[in-house]
């Protein structure tokens, strides 16, 4: 009978929607999808020379992005995401056209065009070898041309190798492996950290430490030949740290300053022509420091705003009058040789004060800007840039990075622009319903003019026709796209019956909680929940739904858990999700390693949790006596497990049952599953997943019963990399494990395969992606688990027909399934080749689980691909019979097809893609998909196509 209905339904669908297409038309891009681009938390910034027309700031970030920002608007004019293992270490401008980056332990030197971000040249400084040399990475622009191409050259220091390269094309002029040279001499094992221009013309100094860190090491190198002319080392009484710099003193001399290894002393040495004599003079610091920064002239600073001055006798505290909590910028050389300046930026709750200080320690400019940076967690970094005003006096602009990763450009006492960069590092995502209409006004909406709207609609229909028929001009197409983007209905701030409109609440790494409207991706509210100014670094590490399915008129709440103010404590913050208000915040006197979401809510509809600390003590949250009574009944059936990747072990725990009226318990370890290979991945089903059917009907009308126990865990182990390197055959083993008892339900070995493994578990199946060494290709496998016992207990035909005819078939069959009486399972599996690498994997979710599933793959190319589940079906036959055809099985093909139209991201990329979060709409057909990385992307899909 259901098949009859489904057949009729199919007929209706096909007859009414005959021309429906899988992909979208070009002009439909942006109708339901949007994307936003970010750069991440800025770590380094350089500014385009002031005589260039296009004013740009070139930044590199914690997300390993190199980007050019428009200084007038803050827009990204171009950006590049470097690979994860290719960390940017230094950026500098060479002339007007070349932006030089050095990355991956100094191995890669690249030059980028400043205007368009084009890669101009790329060179490798060394070939990685087994014996890695300690040492720093430094690149020094030489204001001189040594190869005669009229272009300034650069000197590169990487892992003890010193090179002179042409700035125009990166070609090598000379290279000198200084570390190799040191091995013969007395300075054996020395490490070089920095490059500095020497006091002798045509020479540079490479400075570092001896192997025992007991003396400085200075090598004077001739720039023409690359020959080391002189070496010197000056012994120190205290062990030295790698942080050191050269400071120009007023007497035109130079001095070397360094920190001791414990950060408690400053060491000073006047630099003259080599060889140097004497000993390092040490000055005690009042508070330990880790970093030194030159401020121009004979000023330099340690951590915080502690300014020191170098003079003939050594080091003395500077005279500059700066607030102790101010953040200092690096030194900046003013145009027309007006000396060097630096800025100090100080945040208070009402304003931000910028002081530009010259190399004498005198404040040149003091500006107060109405900007509350404390609500952004305080200032993290600041960068100073100058420009020439119309009256030829220098003007200053400051680029401020707040601790919540926000980026501000301050100029002439105003905030020119602001970027919310926290969204480049999203940690957790939660979809939240909007308030019902007329109840909580989140946004003022203008009354709708019906006639105007009708006219506009008609115009757009015409436009759409023209675009489809390819009559439209590019301007008209752009107008249509713009209209679709701003289509009023999807942008409303109220609940809709189809559940298409939602808030996406994102918890970010720097501690900013942002709610995005899924209509166009605008930020509806954002709250800083990280550590405040002066507090140690640390932001919430997890976000949990507290009240999601609520009465319509109360706002949903999320619970954030993060490090507390005292060590070993946890800060639990509740945030209301319609306005972003923090409703409560409390310190819990224990750490949280696991969160157990009990199937129990308190009388206000709030979820009750069990929080497990590191010592496996279980605490009730909220720990009231009332809640203790509420959870009493479920406690005996609560279990948890811990994956230990370091030891390749999974351990299971249970709660003691006999203790009544308590709010904390000691968990008992009940099982342990040590793997002989390295544990590489584990994955379980999402707890809110809805499954419609317990059965799968085959072509011959027989039934398979899905094994739908929620407490099922997938784990994958692989041969450890060091054994593979020794020539051992790599294997990958996939396990299906019962998470309550630790019993392995199924195990399969893939010979010649290795990780990394990406996997997704939904309903009764697991799909996982790995690398096949044998085939030299990526592979994907599917395992589908069926309950063999349920098929034996299935009702007979007459019982089923009778109950079915009465509409009571839900009363039939197995009601409950227990891990303590595990059924026999049958596992079907199949493997396929897949031509793309996968970074992250997810699955579509719909409101009652009737719609077929799409597997959402975040590919190595930073795109999102929706793969139909029926392609990954272990029942795909090699020679299909008519029964197989009737079941709708596709004949087996070892290659999974990649259909370009199935890329949800169309022609875009989600730079640095890390995760995909899907959620059901209220309409069964539709699933909402949010992909995040450095960029964010949202769309909605209909996995069963319509």
């Amino acid at each position: 009978m259901p098949r009859l209905f489904s057949t009729l339904f199919t007929i209706c669908v096909y007859s009414s929607n005959f021309f429906s297409a899988v992909a979208i038309y070009e002009d439909q891009v942006g109708t339901w999808d949007w994307s936003r681009s970010f750069v991440g938390t800025v770590t380094r910034a350089v500014f385009s020379p002031s005589d260039l027309k296009r004013k740009r700031a070139f930044v590199s970030t914690e997300s390993n992005v190199l980007a050019s920002l428009n200084l007038r608007t803050g827009d990204i004019s171009w950006k590049h995401k470097f690979a994860a293992n290719d960390e940017i270490e230094q950026i500098l401008l060479l002339g007007k056209q070349h932006l030089i980056t050095i990355s991956n332990n100094g191995r890669h030197v690249r030059a980028w065009g400043t205007v368009d971000g084009m890669l101009l040249w790329e060179q490798n400084t060394y070939v990685p070898s087994a014996a890695e040399v300690e040492g720093g990475v430094s690149v020094l622009p030489l204001s001189g041309d040594y190869d005669g191409d009229d272009f300034d050259d650069i000197c590169v220091l990487a892992r003890g190798i010193l090179q002179l390269r042409s700035g125009a094309d990166g070609l090598l002029l000379w290279t000198n492996n200084i570390t190799a040279m040191l091995e013969d001499g007395v300075l054996e094992g020395g490490e070089l950290y920095a490059l500095q221009l020497s006091s002798t013309k045509g020479r540079i100094d490479a400075v570092g430490l001896t192997a025992e860190h007991d003396a400085t090491l200075i090598l004077n190198v001739d720039l023409e030949s690359g020959q080391v002319k002189d070496t010197a080392s000056v012994a120190s009484k205290v062990p030295l740290a790698a942080s050191m710099l050269a400071v120009a003193t007023k007497e035109k001399g130079r001095a070397w300053v360094g920190l001791s290894a414990d950060g408690r002393s400053l060491l000073h040495l006047p630099l003259g022509p080599l060889p140097l004599t004497g000993e390092l003079t040490a000055t005690k610091l009042s508070q330990p420091s880790t970093e030194l920064r030159a401020l121009g002239g004979d000023l330099f600073a340690t951590d915080g705003a502690n300014v020191f001055e170098v003079n003939a006798g050594g080091v003395s505290p500077g005279t500059a009058d700066l607030a102790h909590n101010a953040v200092l910028t690096s030194a900046l050389t003013l145009a027309d040789s007006k000396g060097m300046v630096f800025a100090s930026v100080e945040a208070s709750s009402s304003s931000t004060v910028i002081k530009v200080v010259d190399d004498e320690g005198q404040a040149l400019v003091t500006e107060e800007v109405k900007l509350d940076l404390l609500s952004h967690g305080g200032i993290k970094r600041a960068f100073l840039n100058s420009y020439t005003k119309k009256d030829t006096t220098p003007g200053f602009r400051v680029l401020i990075v707040a601790r919540d990763a926000s980026l501000f450009l301050l100029q002439q006492g105003e905030v020119v622009w602001q970027r919310e960069e926290a969204l480049a590092s999203i940690k957790a995502v939660q979809y939240v319903d909007l308030p019902p209409a007329g109840d909580v006004e989140l946004e003022k909406t203008d009354p709708v003019d019906m006639i105007q709207q009708f006219k506009h609609g008609l115009e757009m229909q015409m436009m759409q026709f023209k675009v489809r028929m390819k009559f439209a001009t590019p301007e008209e197409s752009a107008k249509l796209v713009e209209h679709r983007r701003s289509y009023a209905e999807k942008l409303q701030m109220v609940w809709d019956p189809n559940g298409f409109r939602k808030l996406i609440v994102a918890l970010t790494e720097p501690g900013r909680l942002v709610a995005l409207h899924n209509g166009d991706g605008r930020s509806v509210w954002s709250t800083y929940v990280g550590a405040g100014a002066g507090e140690p670094e640390g932001s919430p590490y997890t976000m949990l739904p507290l009240t999601m399915v609520t009465a319509e008129h109360t706002a949903p709440e999320v619970l954030l858990l993060g490090p507390g103010s005292a060590p070993g404590s946890t800060k639990a913050t509740r945030v209301e999700c319609w306005h972003g208000a923090v409703t409560s915040s409390e310190q819990l006197p224990y750490t949280v390693a696991h969160v157990l979401r009990l199937p129990v809510s308190d009388n206000q509809g709030r979820q009750i949790f069990l929080l497990v600390d590191e010592a496996k003590k279980v605490h009730l949250y909220p720990g009231t006596e009332e809640n203790s009574d509420l959870v009493y009944d479920v406690l005996p059936s609560v279990y948890f497990y811990e994956t230990d990747y370091a030891n390749s072990t999974i351990r299971g725990y249970a709660l003691p049952t006999e203790e009544v009226g308590k709010t904390s318990w000691d968990a008992v370890q009940t099982w342990e599953l040590p793997f002989s290979e390295e544990l590489v991945a584990t994955v379980t089903r999402r707890p809110d997943e809805k499954v419609h059917s317990h059965t799968r009907v085959l072509g011959d009308r027989s039934t398979l019963f899905k094994y739908l126990n929620m407490n099922t865990l997938f784990a994958a182990t692989a041969t450890p990399a060091h054994l593979v390197a020794e020539g051992m055959e790599p294997t990958l083993t996939a396990y299906i494990i019962d998470a309550v008892t630790g019993k392995v339900l199924y195990r399969v070995r893939h010979l010649g395969a290795q990780g990394p493994v990406q996997a997704v578990f939904s309903e009764n199946w697991v799909v996982y992606h790995y690398w096949s060494v044998h085939a030299h290709r990526h592979e994907m496998s599917v395992l589908e688990v069926f309950d063999e016992d349920a098929s034996r207990r299935a009702p007979g035909f007459f019982e089923a027909a009778l109950m079915g005819a009465m509409g009571r078939s839900s009363e039939l069959g197995v009601k409950e399934i227990s891990s303590h009486a595990l059924p026999a399972v049958r596992v079907l599996g199949q493997s396929y080749f897949f031509s793309m690498g996968v970074k992250t994997m997810s699955v579509s979710a719909t409101s009652s689980g009737v719609t077929s599933k799409n597997i959402l793959l975040g590919t190595h190319t930073d795109q999102v691909l929706a793969l139909e589940k029926r392609l990954l079906d272990p029942r795909r036959p090699t020679r299909p019979t008519s029964m197989d055809k009737e079941e709708g099985l596709i004949p087996y093909n070892p290659n999974l097809p990649i259909i370009p139209q199935h890329f949800l991201t169309a022609n875009q990329q989600v730079s640095g893609l890390r995760g995909i979060a899907s959620a059901p709409a209220r309409l069964e057909s539709t699933s909402l998909v949010f992909a995040y990385g450095v960029d964010i992307f949202y769309t909605r899909i209909m996995p069963s196509k319509m």
Binding site: M1, P2, R3, L4, T7, I11, S15, Y541, T542, P563, T591, V592, A593, H594, V595, L596, L598, P599, V634, S637, V638, F640, Y641, E642, T643, Y645, T682, T684, V691, H692, S693, H694, T695, L698, R701, S702, T703, N709, M710, N711, A739, A790, A794, P795, G796, F797, A800, A801, G804, A805, S809, S810, E811, L812, G813, E816, I817, S818, S819, H820
Partner: protein, 168 residues
């Protein structure tokens, strides 16, 4: 004078009544008066019975044609085969339902209508059965357990298990 040259057409009929009919003309064959109707009722009852039986057998050709078309349309599920099969189901039902008034007009003391009607229904029922068979071969009949238990409730796990990698 005037009367001499006058021709009165209306008078002709009156005159003709007095005239005898032409030779060989029999009034009873053309007159549709009451005497004729009585004669029709007196049609041979055997002939009538034969006509009823003919009506009873008449759907056979139709049903055979329908069956042939169903056979021709194949067992795959398409708009055409589904349409034919559904017509094959509903047409006999309609015909059987409407067989009462169809045979009622023949009903009288001398004519047997029950048996012919039964035969009529049997032929139509045969067509109906064929259509059901056809539906079954197409796989649209709920004759298997699996057709009734697809909405079987998903069993709930009795334990609750959570966990994963430690958060910190």
């Amino acid at each position: 004078m005037a009367g001499k040259w006058k021709m009165d057409f209306t008078e002709g009929s009156h005159k003709s009544q007095s005239l005898p009919n032409p030779v060989g003309y029999v009034t009873s064959l053309t007159d549709v008066g009451e005497s004729g109707a009585v004669k029709k009722h007196e049609v041979d009852p055997e002939l009538k019975q034969k006509k009823v039986w003919e009506l009873a057998q008449s759907p056979f050709k139709n049903v055979a044609m329908m069956a042939f078309m169903m056979w021709m349309s194949g067992n795959s599920i398409q708009v055409f085969s589904i349409g034919i099969t559904f017509t094959g189901i509903f047409q006999p039902i309609k015909a059987i339902m409407g067989s009462g008034p169809l045979f009622a007009r023949f009903a009288d003391a001398k004519t047997e209508t029950v048996l012919p009607r039964l035969q009529f229904c049997a032929i139509q029922f045969g067509g109906f059965l064929f259509a059901l068979y056809k539906l079954n071969t197409m796989g649209l009949m709920p004759t298997h357990t699996s057709d009734w238990i697809s909405s079987l409730a998903v069993p709930q796990a009795m334990e609750y298990s959570y966990g994963g990698n430690p958060l910190m």
